[in-house]
Amino acid sequence: MPLLDVSGFRVTAVGIDASVDLVDNVSFSVERGETLCIVGESGSGKTVTALSLMRLLEFTSSVELSGEARFDGFDLVGASRREMSQIRGRRVSMIFQECMEALNPTKRIGPQLVEAAHGMQESRAREKAADLLAQVGISDPESCLGMYPHQLSGGMQQRAMIAMSLMCDPELLIADEPTTALDVTIQAEILTLLLNLQRERNMAIILITHDMGIAAEVADKIAVMYAGRLVEEGACQQMLLAPKHPYTKALLDCIPRPGRVGRGDLMTIPGFVPSPAEQLGGCRYADRCAFVTEECTGTEPQLAVTSGAPTGRSGATNPETRMRRVACWNPLAIDNASMARLAADVTSEAPDNRRRVGEPTRPGYLALGSVSKVYAGNARSESMKSNSTAGLSAVRAVDDVSFTFRRGEFFCLVGESGSGKTTLGRLISRLEPVTTGTLTLDGADVTHLRGRSADRNFRRHVQVIFQDPNGSLDPRQTVGQALAEPLKSLVKLSTSDRTDRINQLLDEVNLPRSYVHKRPSELSGGQRQRVAIARAVATSPKLIVADEPTSALDVSVQGQIVNLLRRLQAEHELTYLFITHNLSLVLSVADRIGVMYLGTIVEIASAEALIAGPAHPYTQMLLAANPDPHNPRSRDERSAVTVDGLDTETANVDTSIGCSFRDRCPRRQSICDTDKPPLAPINDEQRTACHFPLVASRHQPTPSALVKQDDYSY
C-alpha cells in the first residue's frame, strides 16, 4: 500500500458569490522512500493541493475538501481537526517557499525548531535541533540556534526550514517550491540535501516545482498539473522521454536548450492558464493545445491509465511505478511519426542567416570605464530601522567594471542574487549616478549630462524593461497612455502620429490594437511585459536594458517574450543588456555573456565559448548547478555536489584585496588572497578575471555534441 494515496481529490473554495473548484480530480500516490514531483505552470493548483492535503488551507480561506486522500490508511479528508493535529507536524511535515515569511521574525531559530519536536524534553529537542542544523549544512549550529531569522541569509533560512520540518522525523515531507527564490547554486545544494536525507530516512517526498529541470533531476515520479487538474502522471524517465499529454511535452519543449543561438524561436505555449473560476466544458488545456479535436472542447477528459509505455533504458522494476495515467482524449502516441515531429521541433528550424554578432569586429556602442557604485548603506530612508544599521560599512554594489557593448549584440548578465546586476543596469540606463567611472555612448561621454535636452537625447537611445510586470505599468494608466508617455516626452509627434505609432507598437508586440484602452489589471503577466517592451522600443532606442524581464513569468510565456525581443532586435538593430538568473536561457539566446560576482565581472565570453567551457570556477559552478531536463544528472552525480553552505550573502570576504571569489573557489592558492585578478582575455571570445582559468584544462564538447544529447538518447 502506498504511504499517501490520493484519488478524485477536490478542493472547492466557498466564496460569498460562488463556489469554485480550485483543484479537481487529482489522483496520485507516493511510496515510502519515493519522490513525487508535482510540476505545472503558475496557478495550476500545486500549492492548493499540497496545503489541502495538510489541511492547512482551511485556516486562512474557506474551502471544502472532497474525494479520497489516505495517509497510511488514515483519512485526511474526513479527519477532524484534532485527529489532524496528530498527523500534521508529527508524521507529515512541510517546507514552504517563502522562508523569509515562513519563520517568525521575532523568535530565535532555536525555540522555533524546538517547538516542532513533540513529546520531547526541551534539552533533548535542542540537541536534536543542533544536530539537524549540522546535517543540513549549517556550519555553526549552536550559534545559529540563538539567531533571529533576519540574521540568516535566504539559503540559511531555507536550511533552517528544512531542519524544522525534519524535527518530527516525518514519514512524508511536502516541499512546496523550496528553492524557487534561491540562486541555482543554493538550489542545487538544497535539493541534494533533501535527496540525501530521504535516502537516510526512507522518507517519502512530494516536491512541488514549476521547473521541469528540477523534476528531471530528483523525481521518481512526476505529476503534471494544469489549471487545477492533474493531467499526467508517471515515472520520471518515461515522462521526460515520452510525454503523453501535449501539455507535458510543451512544458518540456519550452525549456531553452543551450547553443541554439540564432536557431530560430524558442518554443512557447500560446495563451495562458485559465483561472479556476472559468467554467469550461471540455479539456481545460484545449484552447492552447496543438492537437485539439472536437471531443476536447466538448467533454473534460478523465485521468486514465494508458498502455504502451515505452521501455526506457533504466526500465522500471516496480510495475506500479511504470503505470502511466493521462487525462487526454488523444494522448501523444510515441510512434515514429510523432518522434520525428518532436525532433523536428527541436532541430528542423532553418538556421538563421544573421551575422554572428559576438565577434570583436563589431563597433562598440556603449562603454563602461571602471564604473563603481557605492551605497552609503542608509542612503534611502531615515527610518529607525535603517538608522540602527547605519554603522554598517558602505556597500560596493558595483566594483570597478569596464567593458563595452557592441552595436546590435544580445548581451546577457548572470550572477547570483546580490551580485550587482540590477545596479549595473541602472547605472547604464543612468537611472542612478555612478560613484566613480565613466560611461561613453557612441564615443560621447554621458557620465554627467547637464540639461534636459542632453538627458532626453540619451534616453531616446537607452531604454529599460523591468523585472516585475505588475510594477512596471501604472495600474491607473491604460495601455495607450503608458505607451504615449515616452512618445510625449521624448519625441515630438502630432496627436494622430502618436496614435499611429501606438497602434504600430501594439502590432509589433503582437497585441490587438483594441488593447489601447485596457488597464494593466486586465492583462496577463506576459501581456503586461509586452506592453513594457512596446514602451521601451517606442522611441526607437539603440540599447535596451532588460532587468530579468521573464523571471516572474512562466516558462511558456518566457519564450514569447524572448522571441519578441529577438525579433525586435533583428528588425531594429537593437543592442540588449539582458539581466537574468536563468542559465539555460542565457546559453540559448545570448551573443555574449557577462558573469558577475560581488559587484565585479568575473567572466565575459560568447555563448559558444561558455558552452564549450567556462574559464572562471564561478561560472563553472553556476553551470553545474543549473538543472536541465534535456540533460539531467543522475542521482549520484547530484549527491556529489558539495554542501558547503556558502553563497553570496554569507560570503563575508574582504573584496578590497585579492579575488573576491576566493573563499568559495576550489582552486584557491595564496596569490588569490593578495592579488585581484584582472579581466584578462583567454581567447578572442573569452575573458576572465581568474588567476587559474579552467578553460585549457577541460575537455571541450562541441556544440553539435550538445545538440545530439537532445535526442532523448540516455
Partner: protein, 323 residues
C-alpha cells in the same frame, strides 16, 4: 512561481454577465455586491450621508435656530419643541440640525486644508530627498505636541472663530496626512513604472502628477476620512472650551458647552448634541475602515480572513447536524 499571499480571492470575483446595462444598473449591481461583501460599511456610510443631508436640508424645514423666546426657557421636550428649548428658549432640535452644518462644514474645511497641505508636503518630501529632512523635522515638531495644546496655543493668537480654528486644526492635522502620503510616495517611487517614466525623461513634477498622486489617491482618501472624524472630535473639544466657533452660531461642541450649566435642568440639551458628535465620528471611522477594507489588499485580506472563519464555522455546524 511568484510568492503569493496565503489567500487570494480575486479568482472568485466572477464578473457578473448582466453588467453593462447602463450606469445606474451598474451602480446598483455594484452596491449590491458591496452589500453582500460588507454590509456594515454601507450602513455606516448611509448614516453619515443621512447626517450630512439632514444638516444641509434640515434648517430649511425646521423652525428658526436663533429665535429667542425667554418665556419658554429650558423647556423639556414637547410638541412645539421636540427636544425642548435652551436657555434662551431656542429650539434645540433646530439648533442641533443647524449646528450640523457648522460642525460638519468646519470639519470639512479643516480636513480640506490638512489634505491639501499634507498631500503637498508628503509628496514633495517623499519624492525629493533633499527637502525631506527639515520639513519632516518640522512635522515631527508639530506632532511632538499634544494636539489640543497646540490648537489652543494657535487659537489664542489667531483669535477664536471659524478661520482661526480651521487654520489651527488644519495645522495640527497636516502632519498626519503628510506622514501617510510620504510613506506611500516612498514606496511608490520604487515602482517600475516610475523608473520607466524617469527613463522616458518625464520630469519629476509630471511623474508626481501622473503616477504618484493618482496611485496615492486611495490611501489619501482613507486617511482623509479618518482625519475628518478626528477633526470633528477636535472641533467639538475646542468649541466646548469656548475656543472654536463662537456662539450664538451653534456647533455641537459649543452646544454641549452651553448646556453644561443646565445639565440637571434640561438633560436633552446636553445629551443630543453629544450623541450627534458620537454618531458622526463613529460612522465616519467605520466608513473609513470599510473603505480601507475595500482598497487596501492587506486590510481586505484581514476582513476575508475573519469572514472565512465565520463561514467555516457555520459549515462545521451544518456538517455536525448532518452527522
Amino acid at each position: 512561481m511568484s510568492s503569493q499571499l496565503a489567500l487570494d480571492t480575486t479568482a472568485l470575483s466572477i464578473r457578473d454577465p448582466k453588467v453593462g446595462k447602463g450606469k445606474f444598473a451598474r451602480l446598483r449591481l455594484g452596491l449590491a455586491a458591496l452589500w453582500r461583501r460588507d454590509a456594515p460599511t454601507i450602513i455606516w456610510g448611509a448614516i453619515f450621508v443621512l447626517i450630512l443631508l439632514v444638516s444641509a436640508v434640515g434648517p430649511l424645514l425646521l423652525q428658526s435656530y436663533s429665535a429667542i423666546d425667554p418665556s419658554a426657557r429650558l423647556a423639556g421636550p414637547r410638541s412645539a419643541h421636540w427636544l425642548g428649548t435652551d436657555e434662551y428658549g431656542r429650539d434645540i432640535l433646530a439648533r442641533i440640525v443647524y449646528a450640523g452644518r457648522t460642525s460638519l462644514g468646519i470639519g470639512l474645511a479643516i480636513t480640506g486644508m490638512a489634505l491639501v497641505l499634507g498631500t503637498f508636503i508628503g509628496t514633495l518630501t517623499g519624492f525629493y530627498d533633499r527637502l525631506s529632512g527639515p520639513i519632516m523635522r518640522l512635522m515631527d515638531g508639530i506632532m511632538a505636541f499634544p494636539a489640543i495644546v497646540l490648537a489652543i496655543a494657535l487659537l489664542i493668537v489667531l483669535r477664536s472663530g471659524v478661520w482661526g480654528e480651521i487654520i489651527a486644526l488644519g495645522t495640527v492635522f497636516t502632519p498626519h496626512i503628510a506622514r501617510v502620503v510620504r510613506s506611500r510616495v516612498l514606496s511608490l517611487r520604487e515602482k517600475g513604472y516610475v523608473a520607466a517614466a524617469r527613463s522616458a525623461a518625464v520630469s519629476g513634477p509630471r511623474i508626481l502628477l501622473t503616477h504618484i498622486l493618482p496611485n496615492s489617491a486611495s490611501t489619501i482618501l482613507v486617511q482623509t476620512v479618518f482625519i475628518y472624524a478626528s477633526a470633528l472630535l477636535a472641533d467639538s473639544s475646542l468649541s466646548f472650551l469656548g475656543l472654536g466657533v463662537q456662539p450664538p452660531t451653534p456647533t455641537w461642541g459649543n452646544m454641549v458647552g452651553e448646556a453644561r450649566a443646565f445639565i440637571t435642568i434640561a438633560p436633552t440639551f446636553i445629551v443630543f448634541p453629544g450623541i450627534m458628535i458620537v454618531l458622526s465620528v463613529m460612522s465616519l471611522n467605520l466608513l473609513g475602515e470599510g473603505i480601507r477594507g475595500l482598497i487596501d489588499t492587506r486590510a481586505r485580506a484581514i476582513l476575508d480572513l475573519e469572514r472565512s472563519r465565520k463561514d467555516r464555522l457555520s459549515r462545521a455546524r451544518k456538517a455536525g447536524r448532518r452527522g
